[in-house]
Symmetry: D2
Subunit: 336 residues, 4 copies
């Protein structure tokens, strides 16, 4: 039985609390937040859970075996480090840290101490992404040629990170989950319309040595909410539209074949637009699956889907993207 403490009770906190309260093998002992009005809300609904504004209450409680860090990104590293040093398993909200150096240090400590270190990339547990993964693994889509994500809406402007760090982790983690290939470089651009200089509109291209290319379009300034990922394979293509209530994933038997020709300037292409298939998706709440995966990693030593590996990789891409934005799109290499 894992004893859980949740640090940070903001937008995502109630969802974490609800799921860790219902997942078997987990008991939530503490919620920590500096804002007492946030903690008040817990007392009504969860009278059995203790609340505090002091992290020491949690670190020193032997019943707490695992800590969930759900604070603003700037505190992820120091809180996770302290927790690991106190022998607690750690789950961090995405993005894992503000730099890959921080992430790597946390990973080193967790490995040394034999503790679970996991990052909450919730999307990897959605029925939609799991279905797409199954289709790709089964070879139905063919070789993936492009991954094109648009994640835009109005607000919520983050005070400490730009829109890429806020929204793109979802899509980058999905990309890395779906295909094994890893990129060689990125190129990114963006613009800030606020005095703090953090980009609220940003675009990111991720380059591969292979035939693959990925692109991410993120904005906090769109009047409409779009959550759409297009995935093109040599056999079929997929549209994952997360705004759709009931037809989130569509598989298009659509494509084109480049015919061999002697003269390369002459392009002979056969287009194909066929049936569309809309698979039924698993309905379970994704965050429940994530929480269960964390508990299983603690209790049974399983390797979580959303472990520190993808957490670190996502931070590396964001870090490189930030450098590229500063240089107005200049290619920045990434090493994995």
């Amino acid at each position: 039985m894992a004893g859980i403490a949740i640090i940070g009770y903001g937008y995502w906190g109630p969802n974490l609390l609800r799921n860790f309260s219902s997942v078997p093998g987990s008991t939530v002992h503490w919620v920590v937040d500096l804002r007492t009005e946030r903690l008040e809300q817990i007392k009504k609904q969860y009278p059995g859970i203790r609340t505090t504004s002091s992290i020491n209450d949690v670190l020193n409680d032997p019943a707490v075996t695992a800590i969930v860090v759900a604070t603003p990104v700037q505190y992820h590293y120091s809180l996770a480090k302290t927790a690991l040093e106190h022998g607690k398993h750690v789950l961090i909200e995405k993005p894992m840290t503000q730099s890959s150096a921080e992430a790597e240090e946390l990973i080193a400590i967790s490995r040394e101490k034999g503790l679970v270190l996991m990052v909450d990339h919730t999307f990897l547990y959605t029925g939609a992404v799991r279905k797409i993964k199954d289709l790709i693994n089964a070879g139905e889509i063919g070789e993936i040629q492009y991954f094109d994500s648009t994640r835009i809406n109005l607000g919520l402007f983050q005070p400490d990170i730009n829109v890429l760090w806020d929204l793109a982790p979802h899509d980058i983690s999905i990309l890395f989950y779906l295909i094994n290939d890893r990129p060689v470089s990125v190129s990114a651009t963006g613009k800030s319309h606020t005095p703090n200089g953090l980009e609220n509109v940003a675009y990111l291209t991720v380059n591969y040595a292979s035939d693959h290319i990925a692109h991410f379009s993120c904005s906090w300034s769109s009047p409409v909410k779009i959550r759409k990922i297009l995935i093109g394979g040599t056999k079929k293509m997929i549209v994952f539209d997360d705004v759709e209530p009931s037809e989130k994933v569509k598989i298009y038997d659509t494509g084109y074949t480049v015919k061999s020709d002697e003269d390369k300037r002459q392009l002979l292409i056969d287009y194909r637009a066929g049936d569309i298939h809309v698979p039924k998706l698993e309905q379970r709440e994704a965050l429940y699956g994530m929480a269960a995966d964390f508990i299983s990693a603690i209790d049974k030593g399983t390797t979580p889907v959303s472990g520190w590996k993808v957490g670190l990789e996502v931070v590396k891409v964001l870090e490189a993207a930030q450098e590229s934005i500063k240089n107005r799109g200049r290619e920045v290499e990434i090493k994995f």
Copy 2:
């Protein structure tokens, strides 16, 4: 009365022929194409129009006062140059030429000879773009902060130009028509999935010295057809969805206000999501308006909406984008 010859009778040719046949002040005398089976189709429907595979028939006919160049892009420059040298007014399909040097040479000749030189950026004559232009001019949208265009579908792969040169001219011309500000540089990325190395997926960021940013996403490899432009202003935001049959332009009384604060790290933002307005648009065929504008420029000396200026500017952006793609996103400056 302008005497028109159309050179090139491919995909767009029948539309040009139909509109120049119905616009007042215009008579189509010739259609030129090397493919006799294409010309056969004209004879049935337009028995009064002569067809030929030789451009000389057209150049030497004094009844021809204006030539429409609707061939593949690689022939635009030489055909337009010959036509101008023979004293004919010239309309060129978009994109104007394969390089800005070619475009500038054509412009110089046309100015020297006092001939009309125009580029068919048809979208500038749509009811949708004209309505958006009116709204921006009337100050209803406020200062434009971003312009974000997605133009993707399956095929038709062009054999001589990449997807940016094929699709982005529509959106770049719209951008330049709507706002007077001109960019300082571009950054572009893309990928080719065909042996000829021409990108079929490409992304372009256009940078401004001002608060503005523009981005273009183009693909010939999408299973779904998207034609969507988002325009964000300080007062309102616009979505122009050209795939929508009846609600193409939506104006969102949506936005955010950054409050002044002493501490810049503290971000105080007021979000606003209000009414949406869907204006009734003018229904006239855009190409008809373009044809009429060309005739008016010839007959009355008016300055066309889609003149050589925007034609050249679009080519400059594409040229810089191509260089940036080669360098995986490196910023390339543009001078206007």
Copy 3:
């Protein structure tokens, strides 16, 4: 301060409990249900609320001043009657009762005893319906000519009432709220695909002496969920699409004008399709407004929007519809 007891804790019960727990002036003392497993769920989340399977606990508790009847329809009448006789104010879920005679008896008792008797037609408290009401009252829509509702989806088949009694109360109550005119007769048809003979597909036309007509299409057997009401006025038309996440109400500046002509066989009609307006709607949960309206009726004697009057009228329409269905569409008159 009203002391509330909720009888019946099925699908809608948790929503009632949540809202009556948060509305000012209301305290929920009891929840009654025969299924102990349903009551178990309450104890965790609302430790302060008592649960029981015996209605007598509630009737004899002087702290309980108002009872919410949220059981299957067949128990509405007897439970409401008992509650009223014990001097409790009563709120009944829609539809009010199984017959107009039952409804009228409850009304008589409540009036005699000076108790509030209200029916939960939640839709009357939605931002969408309130906005439409405002527009009609302001004369913007003109005279209403038709009201056309489609409410279909897959399941949930009710065991004791047909699809009209289950789904149409929403739309009939909206119709009666929006326009003051009352119908003279109904004609209805339907079909049962289950052994119990209760229609799972049904259609209802409501006839008026005036220019107005209303139609309701209801189904539990549709593969898609449609919740759409069209309202045609002499000036403008409205589409209320409750499945739309953000553009639920659209006002069309669309219509037609029949010109006066000497020869009536000759029809001269001017069509008009103009701008569309999508108003921002109030976001507050409708059920909260309903609960507050009940509390206000108890505390301040205000007349609730969804009082016994509309409750009775809806039952009269349903009763007449049922008779019409039995007679395959024969017109059945209604008296109000």
Copy 4:
């Protein structure tokens, strides 16, 4: 080679002319219309086709072997009768005639004279309807339980027939094409908002002795255009949305199973919402298929898909519906 004359060159005339001009085995000799300005348009585009305002020119021309009647409905019977009496094969636009007596008389003449008599129910030749027919025939949908059609838009008000006679023939012909069962009665309601008393809003229920029910909702007064048919089977359900540009037919692996139970009041239902399949449809113009079917019936004696049988059956339903509307929904029996 069939020699065709088209009588009536209104809204649909140009489409008939275009298709009969391109179908093999057919030559259009004449177009007849009283409005000379309509005929003028033909001369330009089809210089080889003769035009006249006198039907006698056509009847007396031995080159004319088949006549297409595309006039307002009130002239269908007399024109078709005259044509048949002159030994011409006849194609009539839908609806076939103003009464079943008229239709039966035409059928009798055509059979006596061995002439083809066909009605243009174009929808039976669409890729969508043919695909649905194939699926039903293959047993994939199971027993059909309901057919629910909505066909509404703004205008065009017809001067001589109500909205049911104008719009419902499409859907009734589809219904009769898809399932072999024939109805026993109808019930219909409607309202006129014009001085001529012809209903512009109308609803029609078609009753079967079997488990099946069909409903048709028609309007000329809707601000939005809806063309949607839902078909529920015991195995799967179909949505045919003709307004959709590319996903017109969707097959839902959705349904419910009523379990056998001892106590019929207790309803045990298993719901199932599974995958959705969107088949690629044949793209050929439906009217071309209809024209080819007519020519084939003339030349090869084949039985057309849209023959006089379905033409008559549709008129019988409309006739009964009209009587039912007059009696505010009273059931009217039909005999086939």
